[in-house]
């Protein structure tokens, strides 16, 4: 844990759109790669449909950065890789959400966004 605490979540901000979507998709629990893609599609109403290349490149980078944990997980006969948020990942996701919330508040203040939008 000593190594982790030396890395501040804020140093990862701002996240790319794809990265944040992935973190969001895993906020409720671990998922497999295909399920992450489906969840992102569902949440964005089909606007963001990730192809395998982009998806796994992003997942790989997030794992390297320590924001995600990848563990193998037995499903019947197969071994499938399950991605889940690491504690650092949760912290970074929260930090990014906070940053975006600040921006929304600022937009409301200058009436770019209507109240309740």
């Amino acid at each position: 844990m000593a190594a982790r605490s030396s890395v501040s979540p804020d140093s990862f901000l701002p996240l790319t759109a794809v990265s944040f979507e992935i973190l969001l998709a895993l906020a409720e629990g671990g998922r497999h790669g295909y399920d992450i893609m489906l969840e992102i599609e569902r949440r964005t109403g089909g606007r963001l449909s990730l192809n395998p290349g982009t998806l796994y490149r992003a997942l790989d980078r997030l794992v390297e950065q320590g924001l995600l944990d990848a563990a193998f997980h037995r499903v019947g006969e197969e071994r499938r890789r399950l991605f889940s948020l690491s504690p650092l990942g949760s912290a970074v996701a929260a930090a990014e959400a906070g940053r975006l919330a600040d921006q929304v508040r600022a937009a409301r203040a200058v009436r770019l966004l209507k109240r309740g939008a």
Binding site: S11, T16, H32, G33, P52, Y56, D60
Partner: protein, 896 residues
């Protein structure tokens, strides 16, 4: 499932672009996601599927590049790879729209090359690779007799039963005849219909599907029932669409025939061409073989016999088995020689064979053209990237990573490749749509040619591959040390490795273009020779009217003779008709029947003699302009019917052609010799040869004339004849008057008219099209090579502007400069020509089968093409050379 297979292979191949760590870690999962996305897209339709496939691949490439070249993860966040790539594509597209000349040239070149290649590939696929749209097509076998004299021939109808009884390697054997014209009356206007006689089981063998009713049965064969199966087209035309089948009776050759079945509209018989038949119409009516007029004649070969190999049988085994048959059959059939050669051939191969060689040649030619087009495109892209080298160097110095630069180059190449491929597919689609109207004629009508998904995919990947390769080369070329030296020394002095590659490309283009042009030249000369072959008879100003005199209305030979005499008188009386005659089958395009002939004094040691038999009226030879070589033509003295066996009958006479003399009476003395025809089960009476006429090319201008025997109509009044009218002016003008004259004599007479000139034209349509296509390709290749040469030389001149200025300052005259540029340019061209000539000499040997009247190593063609190419090259070099010559020396020195 197959499409997924190929796409998976590509996916896996592209996966290897990633680092091995990434590949091993995520490869399997990525493939699964890929498949599931594809399956989803497939449900939405083909367009969605193709889009998804494209996006998946480009996304893979883009993220692979970023993974390979990316800086470590903890840096400034970037947008998703795919979004960046998409932006690059749009930027590339905008760049090109600002330089329309470059874009248009590349896209057009690629488009035409890919389009032509795809069209020809689809053609080849449909006609050679899959020529038979029948179930178990690869197990269908044609049984034929092969002889030195006549090539491949079919069999008499009686042999079908023999084959069925004696051959064990098949689970089905059946027979069919080539298309015969029969007359149809009693159902609307009288007309002739192309029909074929088939045995039971034949239609099933060719996968015929019924729309209603039934097919022919063994019972029909046994009883020689008067039934028929018809095509959907015949039905619609005769009874109207949607009329239900209910035992309608039609009159075929004036015999009542019940229609028992109707086939679906897509059924086609295969076309086999042999010495016996060159008719290429597709049958619309199928009658039982037992009702064929020659069904019981053992010496007339009308049946094409085909079989389907039994599951455990092999073609080799079948061949061995059938080869043993002649020895057995010769014991019960006297006219079968024990050493005759029977064999079994794959039906697919036999049907495709006439067109295989020419189409393969076409395919090779179009691929050469595609290569030349790709070389040109490569040259253009290389030139552009070299010109941009300076800009790239600056951007690299400012911090753009190699990955980004590569990505942008990829994007540009993809835009070019994509546009080129799209145009190519459009071109191919148009070309393929035009095929039927170009009437390639010899194409098996069983092949339906349409835009092949496989070919389009291949075309697409070809375009993509070319673009990628070229972009990579360009990227490699403009990276690394070369870039820095360019910034240091200015872009006008360094040649760079690029120049070497471009010169090599031009060299290759010139060599390939030469090979293509030589082939085109040889084919053009072949066609020209062919079109000048004398067919042996007059083809212009002739009108032919095919009629049928069915036995019910013309029961006796006398009645038919009387009709023909009256008809000839009537036709001759028409204004504009010079003379008239009649014959049973027209040369050049009618189906024909080979008849067994016994020659007096020449026992049949080598097997039966077969000849083409023509039944003609007296004025036939003069109407058709066939010269009489010796003896006399038929005249009224030959009128009595000798074969009727009447006491006062005149002797039977025949006239033969020169081919008969050459083969059977080489001493030249044919007059008064005798021969007899084996038309009925017993041989006919002896007939005396009274004249010899010139050869007529019946089967095609490139085929030698076959032995023919002419019998006077007076002595063999057959039922179906063609009336010929030699006209003063355009024969088609007289079509209506002649038709009315004939139908005035007999209103129920069906008349089908055509002109021999049209038939002649059709017989050379294929070589003409071939020559046209090859020459088209050749010309395109010449143009592309000229553009390629011009581009390289112009570019070289531009790069060496300063050097030229220096030379001028040191006293070089304008002429010197001109000579310098010309020499440098011509060096590559001459090297290309030299290699091209050697290659052409080797390649044209393969074309020998397609050439006519021209040797494969024809000096005038080789010399002429070389001269043409050199001339064009000189002009292509001259333009930039002259520009170099006109350079102002001080301006040249000032440029940097």
């Amino acid at each position: 499932m197959r499409p997924l297979h190929a796409s998976t292979r590509v996916f896996r191949f592209l996966l290897r672009l990633y680092s091995s760590r990434f590949h091993h870690a995520y490869g399997a999962e990525m493939e699964q996601v890929f498949h599931r996305r594809l399956a989803r897209a497939k449900d939405r339709g083909t367009a969605a599927f193709v889009c998804e496939l494209t996006r998946a691949y480009t996304d893979l490439i883009a993220s692979a590049i970023s993974e390979r070249f990316a800086a470590p993860a903890n840096t400034i966040a970037r947008d998703s790879m795919y979004a960046t790539f998409a932006r690059d594509l749009k930027f590339a597209a905008r760049t090109f729209l600002r330089r329309p000349a470059f874009f248009a040239t590349v896209v057009l070149t690629l488009g035409l090359g890919i389009g032509a290649a795809t069209a020809i590939a689809s053609l080849v696929d449909a006609t050679i690779l899959r020529p038979l749209p029948y179930p178990s097509a690869d197990r269908l076998v044609a049984l034929v007799e092969e002889s030195q004299r006549f090539g491949r021939t079919s069999f008499a109808v009686a042999f079908l039963r023999e084959f069925r009884e004696r051959l064990t390697q098949y689970d089905a054997i059946a027979a069919f005849t080539s298309t015969w014209d029969v007359t149809l009356t009693g159902a609307g206007e009288a007309r002739t219909v192309p029909a074929a006689f088939v045995s039971d089981g034949l239609l099933e063998l060719f996968g015929a599907r019924l729309r209603s009713g039934r097919l022919l049965t063994p019972g029909d064969e046994q009883a020689a029932s008067k039934v028929a199966v018809v095509s959907e087209r015949f039905w619609d035309q005769t009874f109207g669409r949607g009329t239900p089948l209910s035992g309608q009776i039609i009159q075929i050759n004036d015999q009542p025939v019940t229609v028992v079945g109707m086939l679906t509209g897509d059924f086609r018989m295969p076309i086999t061409s042999s010495l016996a038949a060159t008719n290429r119409q597709t049958a619309e009516l199928w009658l039982p073989m037992a009702t064929n007029p020659f069904a019981s004649v053992r010496t007339v070969a009308v049946a094409n016999i085909v079989g389907r190999l039994a599951p455990e049988a092999t073609l080799a085994g079948a061949r061995l088995e059938v080869a043993r048959l002649p020895a057995v059959l010769s014991q019960s059939y006297t006219h079968v020689a024990a050493d005759a050669h029977y064999t079994a051939l794959s039906l697919a191969v036999q049907v495709a064979e006439p067109v295989r060689k020419p189409l393969v040649a076409l395919l090779a030619a179009v691929l050469v053209l595609l290569l030349i087009a790709c070389a040109n495109v490569a040259n253009l892209i290389l030139a552009r990237s070299a010109a941009q080298a300076g800009e790239l160097a600056v951007r690299a110095a400012l911090g753009a990573s190699r990955a980004r630069l590569l990505q942008q180059m990829m994007a540009e190449s993809l835009v070019l490749a994509g546009a080129g491929t799209a145009l190519g597919i459009l071109v191919a689609w148009l070309a393929i749509a035009a095929v039927p109207s170009l009437a390639l004629g010899a194409l098996p009508p069983s092949a339906t040619i349409h835009m092949n998904a496989r070919a389009a995919t291949i075309a697409g990947f070809a375009g993509l591959a070319v673009a990628m390769l070229v972009a990579l080369v360009a990227a490699v070329q403009s990276s690394g040390a070369a870039v820095f030296s360019m910034i240091r020394d200015g872009t006008r002095t360094t040649e760079g490795r690029g120049q070497g590659i471009r010169a090599a490309l031009v060299f290759a283009e010139v060599a390939l273009a030469l090979v293509l042009l030589v082939s085109a030249g040889l084919l053009a000369r072949s066609f020209w020779s062919l079109s000048r072959v004398d067919p042996g008879f007059r083809t212009d100003r002739l009108l032919a009217s095919n009629v049928g005199m069915p036995g019910t209305r013309y029961p006796t030979a006398d009645s038919r003779r009387a009709f023909v005499d009256r008809a000839l008188d009537r036709i001759q009386a028409q204004p504009g008709v010079v003379q008239a005659a009649a014959v049973n089958r027209l040369p050049l395009g009618g189906s024909n029947v080979l008849v067994g002939v016994e020659i007096e004094g020449q026992p049949q040691k080598e097997g039966p003699v077969f000849m083409d038999r023509r039944v003609v009226t007296d004025t036939y030879f003069s109407t058709l302009g066939i010269p009489l070589r010796s003896g006399r033509a038929f005249d009224t003295g030959d009128r009595a019917d000798a074969v009727d066996g009447r006491a006062d009958a005149a002797e039977g006479v025949v006239i033969v052609n020169e081919a008969v003399i050459r083969r059977f009476w080489p001493d030249g003395n044919a007059l008064d010799r005798r021969l007899r025809l084996m038309l009925r089960p017993a041989p006919g009476p002896w007939l005396r040869v009274i004249g010899v006429v010139g050869d007529v090319r019946h089967h095609g201008l490139d085929q030698p004339a076959q032995p023919e025997v002419y019998v006077p109509y007076a002595q063999a009044a057959v039922e179906s004849m063609v009336f010929l009218a030699q006209t003063q002016g355009d024969p088609l003008q007289l079509a209506e008057p002649v038709r009315r004259a004939l139908q005035g004599l007999d209103p129920l007479l069906p008349v089908r008219q055509e002109t021999p000139a049209g038939l002649l034209d059709a017989s050379i349509a294929e070589p003409r099209l071939r020559a046209l296509l090859f020459n088209g390709f050749g010309l395109a290749a010449l143009l592309l090579s000229a553009l390629g040469i011009y581009g390289v030389v112009a570019y070289a001149v531009e790069r060496r502007t300063r050097e030229i200025g220096v030379r001028m300052a040191f006293g070089a005259t304008r002429a010197n400069i001109l000579g310098l540029v010309m020499r440098n340019g011509m060096r590559t061209v001459i090297a290309g020509v030299a290699v091209g000539l050697v290659a052409a000499a080797l390649v044209t040997r393969a074309l020998r089968g397609l050439l006519f009247g021209v040797p494969a190593l024809d000096p005038p063609t080789f010399a002429g093409v070389t001269g043409l190419l050199l001339l064009v090259a000189v002009f292509a070099i001259l333009v930039p050379a002259v520009r170099a010559m006109r350079l102002d020396s001080t301006a040249a020195l000032r440029i940097d």
